[in-house]
Symmetry: C2
Subunit: 225 residues, 2 copies
Amino acid sequence: MSALPESLAGLTVAVLGGTGPQGRGLARRFALAGLPVVIGSRSHVRGEEAAAELARATGAQVTGADNEGAASAGDIVVVAVPWEGHGELLSGLLPFLAGKVVVDCVNPLGFDKQGAYALTVDEGSAAQQAQAILVDSTVVGAFHNVSAVLLEDPDVASVDTDVLVLGDVREATDLVQDLAGVIPGVRGVYGGRLRNAHQVEALTANLISTNRRYKCHAGIRITDV
Amino acid sequence: MSALPESLAGLTVAVLGGTGPQGRGLARRFALAGLPVVIGSRSHVRGEEAAAELARATGAQVTGADNEGAASAGDIVVVAVPWEGHGELLSGLLPFLAGKVVVDCVNPLGFDKQGAYALTVDEGSAAQQAQAILVDSTVVGAFHNVSAVLLEDPDVASVDTDVLVLGDVREATDLVQDLAGVIPGVRGVYGGRLRNAHQVEALTANLISTNRRYKCHAGIRITDV
């Protein structure tokens, strides 16, 4: 574990939907980096079970709660829930997320026989929907394209990908870039405003196609940065 | 110049809109790789001028024409025109493009004080619009995110980026992956079907934001491929 960046000192990271593959993988990496992590789930029992398992596996400080408890406990709150129910969940958490940086990593995708495709979102993107609902929070989009398989694999010491970080508030995108950077191998790279989140979310459909073709766990790097 | 892949032997590449930055840059790299290149422009005079300039600069085989002449001459036809007028141009070229692989690299973007953003396209994407119009051609999306500045710079020997190649016909996407690969440093990577082209086109808006923030010419690499 290397030293955390100053910006993250003393901060607790909550991961809503922390029992799904993406949430578990991110929670694992944040915990391994030395950040106090709270795993949120619809059921506090499942949240606590996932936290206990992760704490055992990593020796790190991980606690579990329901999503409301996790939202309350986190200084930075990562939203890694399924797209289905995304808006409803956030609407219910409005008071608990006020004043906080909320990191949305949800990809609104559909699947059929031809693979994955991007769904249309009225607000433009999951991240914009989150910001439209969470009027008292600062929403940042990030971690859309990171392979959950690689995040969860204890044999993967370094994850070979960049994380595009999207948002309208510089202080918040800087913080989330720092958060991405605690995962070994990962860089957080500024990728534009929230209005340009849709295509980064949707790009996950392309990476799924790439994964199928090449039997890999594709990620992206931004060159010349 | 290294040997061309067998798939490209004897093929002529036409670049419609070959007098704009992206078209010029791609034409330059294809010509340098040893492919016969025809630069198309709205005006055949400007097409011929651009071709003469590129032939002088590179010593390669480059000719110029209007877009109709270039579409007729090309075995592979790259569409690098502005989004404005894209559909109208292609509608007029329907008979000349029949039976050919048409490579669309057009990014439907808008610009305002906050930078670039993705435009809504009725057909879903520029590539899908092209395929909807060009019913007798095979449309492939590619070269969306490659920096025109780097392509055009004679001092840039190797362009550090991958090209996501999108399409519904394997033979055509394989061919365009080979075409991308003739540019030193570049790999063509399969990125899914045409229905997933929108986000790759739109991602250029994110890279423009990244360029502004970091003063760079950002590209993308796909990892684990």
